[in-house]
Amino acid sequence: MSQHDDSHHGAPARQFSRSDRSDEHNRDLAERVAKIESLLIAKGLVDKQALDRLVELYEHDLGPMNGARVVAHAWVDAAFKRRLLENATAAIAELGFGGLQGEHMVVVENTPQVHNVVVCTLCSCYPWPVLGLPPTWYKDAAYRSRVVTDPRSILAEFGTALADAVEVRVWDSSAEIRYLVLPERPAGTEHLSEDQLAQLVDRDCMIGLKKVRRS
């Protein structure tokens, strides 16, 4: 299982994203699952609500939305932002997120002068309770080494052009410390609510590959 593809844009080659199944075949598969599900429910081995909660959990609750809410809250609440930059683990826990790999967090702030990028050169550590599941390319060895040697070229691939005067800082996550980038709040978003702001923030922004754009 050492195989990695070279895709850097979240579309790994070997994983399908669109189903080519015929309707008939798809119905047959759906029936097989329904049969298993009702049998297991009848035997009391699973229950419908627990299954729904699990899907929720893996699909949304751990998604980038948690991190996005942290970022949006920091944008609207200066005192929270200060606490976040001082002790991210505690500040993030205030919002009810944390646990597992998200435990020891450090938040680094992007400014007009400094752009931060996060990588893990050793073991692809990743604060996934806050950021959701890591993208496949994050674990790619070539990506990891290039972020360190030539971060601007990686940023350019993600459409992030930085002026030469901007300092790029690369943060190497480890088992002890996980970094999260606090992106700059885009101009012209003063009228947006915290929830609306959170929707502008995606995972790539919180690794520092992209800037947040006003949608």
């Binding site: 790994p12 994203s17 759906a30 049998l39 035997k43 699973v46 699990l54 699909e59 996934w128």
Partner: protein
Amino acid sequence: MSEQRLASPAIAEMSGPCALPRQSGELVFNDDWERRAFAIAVSLADQGHFAWREFQQQLIESIAQAERRDPQNPSRDYYESWLVSLEALLRRKRLAED
């Protein structure tokens, strides 16, 4: 035990051919039955009816089997292999007998 607050790294971070299909880090399901099949396997493992690595091993085998003739063009897609694995494991553990 089924009341779980955080996703399990053993599941979320599977790598290689059995890595969960994702887009921008988030899981991709094409149909609702794929979600159901995903959740059933995770729930049974959470409750200790089998170890996650048993399911993972079965999944690796099912995917390899689907790719045997033409790796570029597998005879089953990811979640169909997932379902085949789930059915096989349920049979082996005698969990789904009428």
